[in-house]
Amino acid sequence: MASRALRAELAVVGALVRRAANEILRVPGAAIPGVLAPSIFFLGLTAVFGHLTQLRGFDTQSYQSFLIPVSLIQGAGFTGAATGVNLARDIEQGWFDRLLVAPVPRPVLLAGLVLSASARALVPAAFLLAVGFAIGVHWPGAAGLAIAIALVMVMGAVAALWGVALALRFRSQSAAPLMQAGMFLLVLTTTAYAPLELLRGWLHDVARVNPATQVLEAARQGFTGGVSWGDTWPGLVAAAAMAAAFAALALRGMRRTGL
């Protein structure tokens, strides 16, 4: 009985993930901003701030290798936030109400939305890695790449949970700038541009306590040096903690919806 219920719930999750995948195939233009924005920032910031590696404190001479994990996570953030915007559209058009009256537990609906965002985060990541390797980003090794991709997927889920919480709160696509700005701030108030010891003022203090810094450093390690468990586990713990916190927020929104 329990296994039949579980199978039904997995089918719902699968259907929601397939719906999101269909959107990529049927409206490929919709994926372009999520791919283009981090790519432009990656290439642009490399060209603009490339000489920062001459400063003492950088452990690499290749700014593109230092920057690419930021862009990977930024791409996941944009894609995840887009899940929130799409949910707001579904709420505005009444489609989400139909999902809510279906005999499906609400956490299962949330899981479908979030897993689809994790999968979609791989689209900008693949494009960015191709661009990055073409312009000389260091090969991070199989382990380094696997860690980076895993963290990109978790951050895609974190961004989606944030977007879902806001979509359920505001029930309007007008909240889109807030969804994107939240992720923008989370990712960039880290060691995105320079190592911690080179950050100045408030950003140094914020980056030190921002859990996204640990995620970024774990994703970065393979691109700028060797991979170690000591540099990996803080990133995994921070990513899991953020996912848990934002999941609680989104689930609260789910429970309150329609009451």
Binding site: F41, A47, L199, L203
Partner: protein, 264 residues
Amino acid sequence: MIAALRANARVVAALGARSVKQTFRRPQLMAPIIVFPSLLLAVQVGGAGSAVDLPGFPRVHGFLDFMLAGAMIQSTLLAGNSGGIALAVDIEMGFADRLLVAPISRFAIVLGRLAGTAALGVFAALWYVAVGLVFGARIEEGVPGVLVVVALVSLSAVAFGGLGAAVALRTGRASVVQGLFPLVFVILFLSSAFFPANLMLEPAASVARYNPLSFVVEGVRDPIISALGAHALAKAAAGLAIVGAASFALSALALRHRLRTGGA
């Protein structure tokens, strides 16, 4: 003649005020103009602030002083893009058609939108001057420097706004103008908006040296980080003239095309 001029000035003022109100009422229009550039400014100043220690970096009081001009011009570019989107929405909703059949000059319709963009440029310049002063920047040229900055930023808003208006008039589709958004960042990254051109990597450094946007940014930056110089001001004027002439010519052509074909 004077009565006609006065009537057109009233149209420009009314449409300009409508455009400003529209921007302040819609967070999705306001966010790209003020919120995102302010966040980016804060993060870049904290993140890349050590760049002032690089050999070859101009002598500045702080990295924030250097970055203010880039943030202002970023805002004006995005304001121009947002103005173009709003004009395209007016075309899609039929509001522009109603204006076109009114007994007013057609150019007053476009100028009204650009007047609104210029007002947003003034707002952006004052916003960043205030932000800069609050967070410890110094305007080396004082009040006259601020006036020059405000004038250059509002003129650049008009010049860049004309490009957004031209695309809106030619295509009549907000989604197309919205699609130019990433291009704004390409142009910015290929200029000296965020870093001195001599310290950028090639080929971006070479492009930045001849990009008219760099001339404008350096003209805005000059009174902030040093004494106002005629050379920088002349270069900014030349940059604005190039962009302005191109944007007005393209707007006029697009408007003529729309009037001749009805936007088909």
